[in-house]
């Protein structure tokens, strides 16, 4: 004797099982991937860098634009050259893209002869917006502060791309199984083997250097103190921007001209959690949405029930669904 299950019951059982499994597995995964959760406040407005935090200091006034860092980065990360614009000869990207984790861009003033180079890569924020935005914890702030991407958890939603104020994470549009491409501070590639990132290792002029964040910040301030009129606003970009980043910039021209956005000192993660903490307080937001949906379902349910009853009375046949 077999138990008869109709279509509707089967769906109910499937959804019930699925949601139970999801609720059991997902929060633990997300929690394990987020070590910051154990701290007192998850996303403080002004995060403090851990004492062992590493950093890069890029001084635009020292950079000669030789682009040695670009092939070095490609080699360390196993990335192909972006030869689309150069007819298959040179690595010639027009910005960070799925084949480029690191790029030297040129700012040139149209009127005056003012110009400056700028090196673009992940800023490795102290409280990264991409990590906050990632729904499955596939972007992770690792020890030493490197922000890395884990393919096994990524669903390709590209929230990180939208969340990042520096436009760093890039999506592989041409790949059938797309990855998110971003600078990972050479964490798995070189840091683990006690080597500094490829770009800082190869830089011939010392325009980009690697070290502890505290040391580099002190060095940047020394440089400013030594030549006070050389640097723009006599400040270090990345010291406080978006809660502080682990890539620091010095420049003689405005940071906005170099394409570094004007940001407040509050971390993006803090903004995001301010909104979500109100929305999700006591589950009020989801409850409200569920209530509204419930109201419409209830109303339409009765209408459909009435229609069904009318139909049955009229035709004498039972309703199909």
């Amino acid at each position: 004797m077999s138990v008869t299950v109709n279509r509707r019951q089967a769906f109910k059982v499937m959804i019930g099982l699925g949601s139970t499994a999801a609720s059991a597995l997902l929060p633990t995964a997300a929690h394990a991937a987020n070590p910051a959760a154990s701290k007192t406040e998850e996303h403080p407005a002004h995060p403090i860098a851990p004492p062992n935090a590493i950093a890069m200091l890029y001084d635009s006034t020292v950079c000669t634009g030789c682009k040695a860092c670009m092939p070095a980065c490609n080699e360390a990360n196993g990335l192909p050259s972006d030869t689309l614009l150069s007819g298959g000869i040179w690595d010639m990207p027009m910005g960070l893209n799925a084949k480029t984790k690191n790029i030297i861009e040129l700012y040139q003033d149209a009127q005056s002869d003012e110009f400056a180079f700028v090196k673009k890569q992940c800023m490795h924020c102290l409280d990264p917006a991409c990590v906050t935005g990632c729904p499955f914890g596939s972007l992770v702030k690792r020890d030493l502060g490197a922000v890395t991407w884990n393919s096994s958890l990524c669903i390709g939603c590209r929230y990180c791309e939208v969340a990042c104020p520096f436009e760093v994470p890039q999506f592989q549009w041409e790949n059938w199984n797309p990855k998110i491409v971003k600078c990972e501070f050479c964490y798995d590639q070189r840091l683990k083997e006690d080597m500094q990132p490829a770009c800082t290792a190869v830089c011939p002029t010392g325009a980009v250097i690697f070290g502890k964040r505290t040391d580099l910040l002190a060095q940047a301030k020394e440089r400013i103190a030594a030549t006070p009129e050389k640097y723009f606003e006599n400040r270090v970009y990345g010291e406080h921007e978006a809660g502080g980043t682990q890539v620091l910039y010095l420049s003689s021209v405005s940071f906005q001209k170099l394409g570094l956005p004007k940001l407040g000192t509050t971390s993006i993660g803090h903004y995001a959690t301010k909104v979500t903490s109100v929305l999700y307080k006591w589950l009020a937001g989801p409850a409200l949405v569920a209530g509204v949906f419930g109201f419409f379902i209830r109303r339409n349910w009765e209408r459909h029930e009435n229609e069904r009853r009318d139909h049955e009375e009229k035709t004498g046949f039972p309703d199909q669904l």
Partner: protein, 405 residues
């Protein structure tokens, strides 16, 4: 004059003693030492000094190494390139710097006389001489394609090679087979390292190789009995660790995008980059771009306007077509082009917000109105049960009011 000097020479005297006795000036020896320093700037302990005087001091104490030079399937081009070297000139080299015991091209004797000279030299210096092999060794049909005094080259190499202290395979042929091993390879040509894999072998590929690389390796071995540091293809690193492209004198033209499109065109006459003519420089490890031949600037293929054929690379030379363009590894675009500052993210203006809001509002309103209209039409015409059911399709069809309408 030379013959009397040779006759008087003691076996294995040092380079210093020899030169003093021959009346060679200190100055010309220093010139030789500085040339060697330039040819092997690092990687050799004999040239890893600050001044030519220091190199000369070290070099002078070296007992002249005994060299036996064997020719197999070759064109003698490697010997020819050695003959053209002027500092030291070849006579100076073989008589004062090294002790060349046997060399088929250069020796006066022939036939039985030559055979006896070889046997005597091998017997005298067993386990001490350095064997220099020029040319590949045929292996097909038990090596009958090349014989030396009635013995196949395979046997000669096995015999003499095993008695040598070290083997230097000079030229691409001796290194892996070279031109004789190119398709269709009728003789089954292989290099020395393929036949004697356990021996201490240095490959100096090139077609021909730079004589100074050979000289550096020989003197280094004579000085402290160690072969120079080598890469995975047994090439000495001091000469083969960098791409030709890295130090090419025409690199600036590559970076600027100035390419020769056709032999004899304007770019070719101007000395532009030969990459598009099939230059294998980006794929070829050799020191040609810094150590030109015969001590004359620009005497090397690219210097005279011919593309590099990659003669030091087993995977390139005589395998990749001469005019085929090689794939470049990651090389950044030259300083003539930079990516501009691009930011796609901007601020959202109130006007844009208003316009988009109005548009979305209009769409939502229109959607609502449309849905109301459609549901009205549906109620009027296609409400369920408004049409008659097919006769006999279900039970209890008798009491339907709609069926009779």
């Amino acid at each position: 004059m030379l013959s009397t000097l040779v006759a008087k020479a003691k076996a294995l005297e040092t380079i210093d003693e020899r030169m003093l006795r021959c009346g060679i000036s200190r100055r010309s020896f220093l010139v030789f030492c500085s040339t060697l320093m330039i040819a092997a700037p690092y990687g050799l302990s004999i040239t890893d000094k600050r001044t030519p005087e220091e190199v000369a001091t070290g070099l002078g104490k070296i007992a002249r190494p005994s060299i036996i030079w064997l020719h197999f399937q070759d064109c003698t081009g490697c010997t020819e390139s050695l003959l053209q070297t002027s500092h030291p000139d070849f006579g100076d080299l073989i008589l004062n710097v090294i002790s060349l015991e046997y060399h088929e091209t250069l020796m006066a004797g022939s036939g039985l006389q030559a055979r006896q000279a070889l046997d005597a030299a091998v017997k005298k210096h067993t386990g001490q001489f350095i064997l220099v092999v020029e040319g590949s060794i045929p292996t097909k049909d038990r090596g009958i394609y090349m014989k030396l005094a009635g013995r196949p080259a395979l046997d000669v190499l096995a015999d003499i090679g095993n008695k040598a202290a070290a083997i230097v395979a000079i030229g691409s042929c001796a290194s892996w087979g070279g031109i004789p091993s190119a398709d269709p390879d009728p003789t089954g040509a292989v290099g020395v390292a393929d036949l004697l894999p356990t021996k201490a072998i240095v490959n100096i590929p090139g077609c021909p190789p730079n004589p100074y690389t050979l000289l550096g390796v020989l003197l280094q071995y004579a000085a402290d009995g160690r072969l120079p540091e080598m890469d995975d293809q047994r090439r000495p690193k001091f000469a083969f660790d960098r791409d030709i492209h890295e130090h090419c004198p025409r690199r600036a033209h590559f970076d600027a995008g100035n390419f020769v499109k056709q032999y004899g065109d304007e770019g070719h006459r101007e000395g532009w980059c030969l990459y598009e003519m099939g230059c294998k420089g980006p794929d070829t490890h050799a020191g040609c771009s810094t150590r030109h031949f015969n001590e004359i600037p620009d005497v090397w293929p690219i210097g005279i306007g011919a593309p590099c054929i990659g003669c030091t690379e087993k995977s390139v030379a005589f395998k990749v077509s001469m005019f085929e363009v090689v794939k470049l590894h990651t090389i950044a675009a030259p300083p003539t082009s930079y990516a501009p500052i691009t930011t796609t993210k901007g601020t959202i203006s109130p006007l844009a917000t208003g316009l988009v809001g109005a548009g979305v509002g209009a769409l939502v309103g229109a959607g609502y109105v449309a849905s109301r209209k459609f549901s009205k039409v549906e109620d009027d015409e296609s409400a369920p049960g408004s049409k008659p059911a097919a006769p006999g399709s279900g039970p209890g069809s008798g009491n339907e009011p709609g069926a009779s309408a």
